[in-house]
Amino acid sequence: MAQAIVQVEHLNLTYKHLHAVQDVSFSVKPGEILAIIGQNGSGKTSTVECVEGLRKPDSGSIQVFGKDPWQRRSEVYKEMGVQLQEAQYPSKIRVEEQCKLFASFYERPADWSLLLTQMGLDEKRKRPLHKLSGGEKQRLSIILSLMGRPKLLILDELTTGLDPEVRQNMWMSFETIRKSGVAIIMVSHYLDEVETLADKILYLEKGRQQFFGTQQAFRAYVKGRVSPKEWDENSSLEKLYLMIAPKTTGLTMEGIL
């Protein structure tokens, strides 16, 4: 059995009075894709930011390539690529300049020129970043996460802002990347994406870990929590998730009319 690239045990993180992550444990092995799912504010991004070494956990242990990412961030980033949820880049920098800059950080950078072509950004090389569309920025962000030929990729909302065709292409690309032995942690609200790509699922609710395991085990987990009347063996992952996710009320016409 391959050793885990990421090993998280009993992770806890608090923001002032908010317990953002409570007792979360999971692991990721080479070639595995782990999807972290849950509602907004469930602690998904906080969890991955601890793994990325961007936040210091209150307690628990995190090992990435056997190292503490908070203490030894620069060593960990030699083999880890990340795509952050909200981060931006200097607006007046041009696409190819941004790629060249990130490529200069690594001894053996990826062929960014080829990646730009594959991601459909070849014609936008000279364009300043502030003139790119949301989807184009997202694609560039993915290219930059791949720049160091990482063995671990962390993608926070991978395909947000991308059109359906590009999303499908992206799924195929990450399937290929995974086959080369790269481990991927993805945070996603798109359950179709999770169903297609993920080997394992970490389901969080209000910062607490509800489930960690394979997709098959997730089905069994949901089955055990719903009435036989509700249960449908052929349900998609999205339907399964909606069966157990906390219910929210939608807009009523009362508040509008």
């Binding site: 990325e52 961007l54 980033y77 880049y89 800059l101 200069s104």
Partner: protein
């Protein structure tokens, strides 16, 4: 080092693409020189003085360049990068945010020196200004005054909650110091009350030091200015660093 130089190169390019920074660092001081030169001419600062108006204006305008880079350009870039989570993105790479911050300080220093050089060249070519001081004391005065301005800007970024409040703080202090320090008009023209206020502004001491160094004064005559500017640099940098450590970078 190669990575750092690459970041510096990129930041330098971005600086030149920003009209405000480029214009007010490299062009505006020369325009001021031409404007005031055409109004007052290069006449002696007082009857019998061997120093002319432009001779004392050039080192004062050089402080104005330091003010633009140290109190506006540098802090607003730092605050903007923080607000837009650009530092966070750099923290999620091999290089980290400290490299890009160091690069921004370096680039602003280069631009300050370029701005001063252009100003000196214009002063020499158009008005044949006299520079009586030694290169060593002039360089030391430039570096210390620049360090003081940069450290104040650094502190403002650290205190400011966001880009908006940092901008307000920086512009407010920049313009107060610009007009009351003698950087734009000679402080001998100020009424006594303004002179008293002016004595509390770090930029006033930078102007005095620079004018003294250019006029050929020994730096030992400017112990007060050297002490104040050194203290400003140390205190503002230390306080700024302390506030910075408390900031949430994520």
């Amino acid at each position: 080092m190669k990575r750092f130089m690459m970041i510096c190169n990129m930041e330098l390019r971005l600086y030149t693409r920003d009209f405000f920074g480029f214009f007010f660092t490299l062009v505006f001081p020369v325009l001021m020189l031409l404007l005031f030169g055409s109004i007052f001419g290069n006449t002696p600062i007082y009857e019998g003085s061997d120093l002319n108006m432009i001779d004392v204006s050039v080192p004062a305008y050089a402080v104005m360049v330091m003010g633009v880079t140290g109190l506006i350009s540098l802090p607003l870039i730092l605050a903007g990068y923080k607000e837009r989570k650009i530092y966070k993105r750099f923290d999620a790479t091999l290089v980290g945010k400290k490299s890009i911050m160091a690069a921004q300080v370096f680039v602003n220093l280069i631009m300050t020196l370029m701005g001063i050089s252009i100003l000196l060249a214009a002063g020499k070519m158009i008005y044949n200004i006299q520079i009586k001081g030694s290169i060593l004391s002039i360089c030391l005065s430039i570096l210390l005054s620049t360090a003081a301005m940069f450290s104040i800007g650094f502190l403002f970024t650290a205190i400011g909650h966001d880009l908006k409040s940092t901008t307000l703080l920086c512009y407010l202090f920049y313009f107060i110091m610009l007009f009351l320090s003698g950087a734009t008009m000679p402080d001998m023209m100020f009424p006594d009350t303004i002179k008293k206020i002016s004595a509390f502004l770090p930029m006033t001491h930078a102007v005095d030091l620079m004018q003294g160094a250019f006029a050929g004064d020994s730096l030992s005559l400017h112990g007060k200015e050297l002490l104040i500017l050194s203290l400003v640099t140390i205190v503002c940098t230390a306080a700024g660093a302390a506030f910075y450590r408390k900031k949430d970078w994520t």
